[in-house]
Symmetry: C2
């Protein structure tokens, strides 16, 4: 859909989290990523060459992707000028920002004049029905979390990759901005009107072959006071046959609030209890640990958790996933 390869726009990223869209695309679709574009004051970069627009065009780059968070959701004058320069150089622009590129008159005019496309991926023109809760064919796995930003997207992508590698029929289903840029389709569930959360997920993961698995990117946490409603709608709409609980062992508080993190046990139990409303056979098939902030003892922790909950425990970016894939296959 989006012409490739990409120039990833990093802007003046001040921390690692700010470029999580760029790093997500680069991690999972590195073959699409040829270079990055940064301002001089950027503090974080990707391991990619830095190009200006002239170099990008010379290297046959087709699209600049906005890979950095715009602070406060506002598109600064500086960004706007850069985006227009990119357009005038002949690059398409792809974005998952809350601000629509095509709603900014100067950007829209420049794109029309230079005959390039604007891809506003957060916005899906699809209208949804309210969720029905009726059983759909095919199977579904949902990644759930003890918090936001604990690895639900990376876990889903790693599971898809491992399942495809073992010859299973699996497809990653994106529900957030970065996931959509990786999958080139999906629904930014945080932009869906609240009445249609579960309905949107039902639309995203429709009836399918009996052995097909949709691997659905989860959002938030049932225990997060800001986003639990979204997480519950996702759980009900996905009618998950299987969940994988994602957790960041060094995290103390839920992101952005003062609420303490739930235990792994409480989080699994709550997802199973509430998930039974639309799938009585829901089960937890694994626990994914994001160990990137751990200094040591990860192996001990994984073994202990695995023994305690009787499911594979793994870091999806480091470990072999054949145990959890075998467990999924057995359902």
């Amino acid at each position: 859909m989006i012409p490739k390869p990409y120039l990833l726009f990093i802007g003046d990223a001040q921390d690692e989290l700010a470029i999580k869209t760029a790093s997500g695309i680069y991690e999972w679709r590195s073959e699409w990523c040829k270079a990055q574009y940064t301002y001089d004051d950027a503090k974080f970069h990707l391991d990619l060459p830095i190009y200006n627009f002239e170099e990008a065009i010379a290297q046959e780059i087709k699209t600049m992707v906005i890979g950095v968070v715009n602070a406060g959701g506002v598109l600064s004058e500086k960004w706007k000028i850069t985006i227009i320069e990119a357009i005038e150089s002949g690059l398409n622009i792809a974005s998952g920002m809350h601000t629509r590129l095509r709603d900014i008159p100067e950007i829209k005019t420049a794109a029309d004049k230079n005959n390039v496309n604007l891809f506003d991926l957060r916005f899906n023109e699809q209208t949804f029905s309210t969720g029905k809760g009726t059983k759909r064919s095919g199977k579904r796995l949902l990644t759930v979390g003890t918090d936001c930003s604990v690895g639900k997207k990376y876990t889903a992508l790693a599971i898809e990759k491992a399942m495809l590698a073992s010859g299973l029929d699996a497809e990653f289903k994106a529900t957030g901005q970065t996931g959509i840029l990786i999958a080139e389709c999906g629904i930014a569930i945080d932009a869906v009107v609240s009445d249609f959360i579960s309905g949107a997920v039902e639309w995203l993961t429709p009836d399918n072959d009996i052995n097909h698995w949709d691997i659905i990117e989860g959002q938030g946490s049932l225990f997060h006071p800001s986003f639990a409603g979204v997480s519950l709608g996702l759980l009900h709409g996905s009618q998950a046959d299987a969940i994988i609980l994602c957790h960041e062992p060094t995290r103390k508080n839920m992101r952005g609030v003062k609420t303490l993190l739930p235990t792994i046990k409480d989080c699994i139990d709550e997802n199973i209890r509430l998930g039974k409303l639309t799938n009585p056979n829901i089960q937890c098939v694994g626990i994914a640990l994001n160990t990137s902030n751990m200094q040591d003892s990860e192996e001990v922790l994984k073994e202990e958790i695995s023994r305690l909950y009787k499911v594979p425990c793994f870091d999806p970016l480091k470990d072999d996933l054949s145990d959890v894939v075998a467990k999924i296959k057995s359902i």
Copy 2:
């Protein structure tokens, strides 16, 4: 805000549920309602005189309120012509429809030309933050339900009325279309983008005097596969000190889906368990039964439920509410 009195537009209502907005306004704000406007083929009416626009103006009616559901969310040509006629007669128009009056060019033009106002109450220009989950001062009661359309709005309004009558400081907080037309303010929570459900409720019921009670209109049910996410966001955002469980004893299936109704016990327990995330002191203070479809034995049922759950059980439209008000006062 909206100029009064009202002419309630009933259109060609084919059943009682279709006019629930009109009947809600008439039930709770009868002093605002002077007449109704209907088509010849309407099968349901209110107990109000039927006026044409000339009569309405002669009787100093100021606003026509859309009190009937537009089938399929589409504004028919017939309705459009009627609304324009009303405008040309000099009436303001108020609506809680998904379709914005001001987005229909002919209606907008007619309103501008005739110098009348269009009130699109479903749409709130307010932008919200995500929920914070931090404790707010003042107290909050939320009506929750075993299903949609079991009396959550009527219960909240009845509780507000009874509390005000006993000298307590209480205020109904609307979260749906009809509630907003009754309260003349509020947020149509089903139109809020999913990331901001709990944040919108935090905004709707901010810090207040220590003895002030916000009486919040609930939506959906934690057990409804279409809307549970909305219900959970409402529960977390309201930080309810008290809940009243609303139930329709003759209902077998959840509205619009095949899911069975939960038991009263399961529904109270689930709301208490999940509500504790943002208010550890949440408690159930009463059970409201909508007995309008019961032939007899309501008294026996209420007594039994009250004994079983050790809280007052009542029909909010029929019974004296002093027991439940006393219970609320004791918190």
